[in-house]
Amino acid sequence: MLLQLKGVSLSFAGNTVLDAVDFGVERGRIQSLIGPNGAGKTSLFNVITGFYRPQLGEISLDGQPLIKRKPHTVTRLGIARTFQNVRLFHEMSVLENVMAGQHCRSRAGALAAVLRLPSQRAEERRIFETSLECLDFVGLTAYRDRLATNLAYGHQRRVEIARALATEPRLLLLDEPAAGLNSGEKQALIELIQRIRDARGVSVLLIEHDMSLVMNVSEHISVLDHGSLITEGTPQAVQNDPAVIEAYLGQDDEELAL
């Protein structure tokens, strides 16, 4: 197991958000986390990445404990994420956005920058090249000098993925990456997710509501409802699980279209 959660419980002011969740992501896998609205999917992401601190439970990446780690440490240890509502640095260029990911893989400080030490210049060049490569990987090299805010929404989502890849992660968490994309863009997203795993060896865990995308891209699906993991398995197995259908009853039509 690359990522392992054991008995993770989270509550806010007495409301249970996650209830003793046991969960794992195997190395080299593309896995999806689904569940009705309010099931606690994004909270689970926030717990994994250190934004929320669970009251109980253990989390580890490759055997290394993640609990009580700050988000920036979790990222440095190898988990990168995107946000449900794209959170780019709007007034900065696309390339500068991607360069943010390289911060945790570099170290030059203020003095090195002021003196332009050779090591600092070499590092800057490396940051530049790695970021450019990540941007190229998502196919947006042409937009590198645009302000992030001026990009089309679908492109912004890809920049956010490039930025996450620039942290050189072992595991990539995507929070509803297909939201707001048209069908062509969704197809391209499926290909991108597969290339991230195949070409870069990065495991992917995604939260998604678009079931056709989920069924298409994932090798393993975990279903969360009311803060508990109700089932997991292959797409076929999950699709036919009565507990899953039960959990989705009362949801809107789009989500019922399994």
Binding site: T49, F51, K70, P71, H72, T73, T75, R76, A80, R81, F83, R87, L88, F89, H90, E91, M92, S93, E96, M99, A100, G101, Q102, H103, C104, R105, S106, A108, G109, A110, A112, A113, V114, R116, Q120, E123, E124, I127, D145, R146, L147, T149, R163, A164, T167
Partner: protein, 330 residues
């Protein structure tokens, strides 16, 4: 901002284009170098053309350039409101004054101590407080600035309310730095160094991290950026700039007193940064010159000129919060 674009009146657009053409004109490295050389030449010959009085005023403006570029790192780059910036200026000035005048330490040997003292002050105040919400941070920095000033006024080693006097002039290779023109050049060198350092910091890993944190702390943190460490770095960098200004301020005047480091001083530096445009180096330099030269033009107005500044700050915030220096668009 984005929603106001469609309604931009045509003449504003034309003016905007002129600005962009200006930027474009200096885009190429040779032209940029030529512009820099021209400004440097003006900086060098000015004291030979200006009166002694004007030279002193310009020296003060150059000091402000250093201070404003330092505060700009904190406020403009990292987005932290520091209302006690004069404290770092004071720490630099007092450390140099005490070490050279009371302990007889050589000026140049004392400089590292003064810078270290300012950096330490930055760590002491920034370390525990940079986690706080931004408005609390502003108040804490204000309180810190006042603590430093009150301490300077009450301690014996700082000379109490009357401050320190007879701070010895520094020598450089046997040459006494003492005339108005000498100090003009000292501050010109400092201002140029501050300019270069600001530019290099802006284009660095740390400079980008400051902007990431300013725009979106959570997203920055998700990218592996330690927001507290990065803010602390901004704080210490600003402290070093401020102390550097204070060190040479002390030897220039030969005397310092607590009132040189009041809240008003911090506000004036902040005004220059906001006026020119937070984060924009040329704008901040222009702001520093306006804040120093402006009162000279308004000399007849007496206390009214402070009111003029206050109203100016308010108007800038209400109508042009990005400062007077025009934006470069891409």
């Amino acid at each position: 901002m984005a929603d106001s674009t469609p309604s931009t009146p045509p003449d504003e657009e034309r003016r905007g284009n002129a600005v962009q053409r200006f930027y474009a004109a200096f885009e190429s490295p040779p032209r940029r170098r030529a512009l820099h050389l021209l400004l440097l030449a003006i900086l060098v010959v000015t004291p030979w053309l200006a009166s002694q009085y004007m030279t002193v005023i310009l020296t003060n403006a150059l000091l402000y350039v250093v201070l404003c570029l330092g505060l700009n790192v904190v406020v403009g780059y990292a987005g932290l409101l520091d209302l006690g910036y004069a404290a770092f200026f004071a720490v630099g000035a007092y450390t140099i004054g005490i070490l050279t005048q009371q302990f007889g330490i050589n000026f140049w040997a004392a400089i590292p101590f003064a810078l270290a003292a300012a950096a330490l002050a930055g760590v002491i105040i920034g370390g525990p407080t940079l986690r706080l919400r931004s408005d609390y941070l502003a108040i804490v920095t204000l309180g810190f600035g006042e603590i430093v000033r009150f301490s300077a006024r009450n301690l014996e080693i700082t000379g109490g309310a009357s401050g320190l006097s007879h701070i010895p002039e520094p020598t450089l290779l046997g040459w006494y730095i003492d005339s108005a023109i000498d100090f003009y050049y000292v501050f010109a060198v400092l201002a140029v160094l501050a300019y270069i350092a600001s530019q290099r910091l802006f284009d660095s890993r740390l400079g980008r991290a400051w902007r990431y944190v300013r725009h979106d702390e959570d997203a920055a943190e998700a990218m592996g950026i330690n927001r507290v460490a990065v803010k602390l770095a901004a704080y210490i960098t600003g402290a070093i700039f401020g102390a550097l200004g204070g060190i040479f301020f002390a030897v220039n005047l030969g005397a310092i007193s607590p009132e040189s480091f009041s809240f008003q001083q911090s506000v004036l530096i902040l005004l220059a940064v906001v006026l020119g445009g937070m984060g924009k180096i040329p704008g901040v330099i222009l702001g520093a010159f306006i804040v120093v030269l402006g009162p000279e033009l308004l000399r007849d107005f007496g206390t009214l000129r402070l009111l003029v500044f206050a109203v100016l700050l308010l108007l800038i915030m209400l109508f042009r919060p990005s400062g007077i220096w025009p934006e470069k668009r891409s």
